[in-house]
Amino acid sequence: MRRKADRVDKVAAKVVLQSYRGGTCDESDPLFREALAELSNDPALAEWFQAEQEFDAVMAEKFRNVPVETAVKKRLLGEEQPPVATPGR
């Protein structure tokens, strides 16, 4: 029975830790503190978590490269005239 309970705890910890981001208010969230405490008892879970954090860092970097077009922003700020309307739009 204990083994099954451990597995459930590990699954639950993984679900919670997938949302964790270090250096933010997550560090003081009791939900994450509890899940992070599991890492010191489970090397495999700690290794999984490390890989997960690395994946998140790479993904965030990929998304940061999305260019932001500024024509609409300029229009909203009154710095540019709206484009001429085209048929079918």
């Binding site: 997938q18 949302s19 994946f55 790479v58 999305v66 932001v68 077009e69």
Partner: protein, 187 residues
């Protein structure tokens, strides 16, 4: 009401529309682009939602119009435009590692994200693009925090599997068609 405290917002009535645009345009645009994967649609969505924000502010709702409001409004605007992505079987696919993701073109990552169901794409966009916490995402999407935790975990697993599929498809496309060569030699 708790989620309203999660975003920093200026004191009621003190933020001009120009300041609001300066502060929030880039995250709103990136989120819109992530939803639509097209600059034309992202422009249309952001212009429409900022137009709503300007109107609401003019009508005295200044304090309620913040980044959370913008993201939620973008989500509503895009809701009717979801397509039917190809489903994958979770048990049969490997997950990609960080080192392999790093080698992928950002466009491939975005296209992969765009192939996912809207509810998962939304959560991933808010988590990676906007770097929101699960509580903030719950506020934007109007979902219980527990639901966000579960959906984010599932969405990340699916994303890693889809990225691995893209990576291996790309690799196999460069290799000679082994099966086809065998077929010819036996015939």
């Amino acid at each position: 009401m708790e989620h309203l405290k999660l975003f920093k917002s200026a004191p009621r009535g003190s933020t001009s529309f120009a300041d609001f645009v300066e502060e929030n345009f880039a995250p709103a645009y990136r989120f819109a682009f992530c939803l639509s994967l097209a600059h034309e649609s992202a422009n249309h969505l952001t212009e429409s939602v900022f137009g709503q924000a300007r109107e609401a502010k003019a009508n005295g709702a200044n304090g309620a119009i913040d980044k959370r409001w913008l993201l939620a409004a973008l989500r509503r605007e895009w809701n009717g435009s979801d397509e039917s992505p190809v489903a994958i079987c979770p048990e049969t696919h490997q997950s990609i590692g960080a080192a392999d993701v790093a080698t992928l073109n950002p466009d491939v990552v975005l296209e992969t994200l765009h192939g996912m169901r809207l509810e998962r794409r939304l959560i991933l966009s808010l988590f990676y693009f906007e770097r929101l916490s699960y509580l903030e995402i719950a506020g934007v999407l109007g979902l219980p925090a527990e639901t966000v935790l579960a959906r984010l975990a599932d969405a990340k697993i699916e994303l890693r599997q889809r990225l691995e599929m893209r990576r291996t498809q790309k690799s196999s496309a460069l290799e000679p068609p082994v099966g086809a060569a065998k077929g010819r030699s036996s015939g």
